[in-house]
Symmetry: C2
Subunit: 302 residues, 2 copies
Amino acid sequence: MSFERVAIIGLGLLGGSIGLAVAEHLPHIVTHGYDADPEVRRRAGERGLVGQVCADATEAVAGADLVILCIPVGAMGDAARALAPALAPDTLISDVGSSKRTISEALARALPDHLVIPAHPVAGTEHSGPDAGFAHLFHQRWCIITPPAGAPSDKVKELVQFWEALGAMVETMDADHHDRVLAVTSHIPHLIAYTIVGTASDMEEVTRSEVIKYSAGGFRDFTRIAASDPTMWRDVFLHNRDAVLDMLEAFLTDLALMREAIRAGDGETMYELFSRTREIRRSIVALGQDDSRPDFGRADHR
Amino acid sequence: MSFERVAIIGLGLLGGSIGLAVAEHLPHIVTHGYDADPEVRRRAGERGLVGQVCADATEAVAGADLVILCIPVGAMGDAARALAPALAPDTLISDVGSSKRTISEALARALPDHLVIPAHPVAGTEHSGPDAGFAHLFHQRWCIITPPAGAPSDKVKELVQFWEALGAMVETMDADHHDRVLAVTSHIPHLIAYTIVGTASDMEEVTRSEVIKYSAGGFRDFTRIAASDPTMWRDVFLHNRDAVLDMLEAFLTDLALMREAIRAGDGETMYELFSRTREIRRSIVALGQDDSRPDFGRADHR
């Protein structure tokens, strides 16, 4: 891998974790970072998220071989336009956004003279900001790279190697397919979690305090997801609208079938669904994508 | 507390955990247990889930002060009827079922001459069976007791003390209110999780293998819940139908609003919901009902 200087724009959970992971796994790479929020820059400096925190984005990217945008997907176009004058001609631009088609287009429009290869590490926690990142966030997690048509294969390979060096497993696919896959495995789960947590908070006959007290029956798991960064997730739904709406229809159709089964007292239909969903869990645990301990290991910790 | 001999009918996750918790916290109490499945009885004996595993349910309850039914809610009426002839007149009957109104009625019908005080410890994991139980399952968890009208307060108090001794915090409420609270905090979350896991498994354009690989984006959390015991959950939806259908309507109404917001590109509505849901998470963690570590502590464990 030929990267010698990496610029990280946005020093929250993802940007901070990349900086820390580079320091751990690729210590020869020099990292510069920038965040629009001065308080985030201060904390990033204190935590040493990058080698140098810059007060200006153009300063951070000057001389970088690789620039990674770690900001909400809705902010990427403008951010890229602001960086353009400071970028060297052969700087590779990438990102970590959770939706890829509109972002690829926005970045290509903002930087018509640069090679843009978008990426999405499928990793994170419900925490955000400069205190949330940690070096092993990407270990054993997939990173999906969505190279545009005609992207030079050596450059794609360099980006693959970069992510592999941080501990990730890498797949490449086209942006549209990415957006449909992630609508299922991430965006719809977040939409559902945010919605049910909202529904539960607004009940008249069941109080908020009851919802909180008895949350160990399952609800608390949804509140973790629904504690994710609101700006980031608003932008995901604005930018992956079509795939999210399609997948939501599929979910609503299935939920209507379950509602009918409950209305009709049709235990057989319920049992059939409830028993086959176990298999997917087993596969996810077997593939190292979740903790095998019961209750995510929370039970051990109590 | 005056209980000297407790019988546990059903030696899965809940029954086994009660047996182990009694041995740890109330070692003077003698426990007898029974399970309809001989293989479960064998494992229960090996693990020492109760002091004595009986080959017959009537043998297990003979002479017991307290009998706790730890079986799917749909099986409780028949099980209670089978026990009736072997129960001493002053034996207190309780259970751990996740829905309470129909169960209370079924148990009262099956045992018209006995005092029945239903209970529901709001605790569990996605695992089931005789290997799943552990002694601290009830620590820092609420147990809801739903005494029928006219239940003697000294008997209610004894049951409260029993659960407190196992590490639980206890609330009493009426069965109908319990069923509405739990529909929100447990039953609807399970229904949604089972359904979305089913939807994701059946996609044509997104393969099962992709769903599994990229599950760390949020989906994997739902698969944990959707790995819960299918018989138990079928029975919950058959027995708490009305409350579940009501709460499902509220959720579907809110989800339709979010769908409209996504269709219309209405970021403000999304942002408003996504930011207020964080507060509930904070309260749940502050109340000790969930792990404060990011990602349920899974990130530390990797």
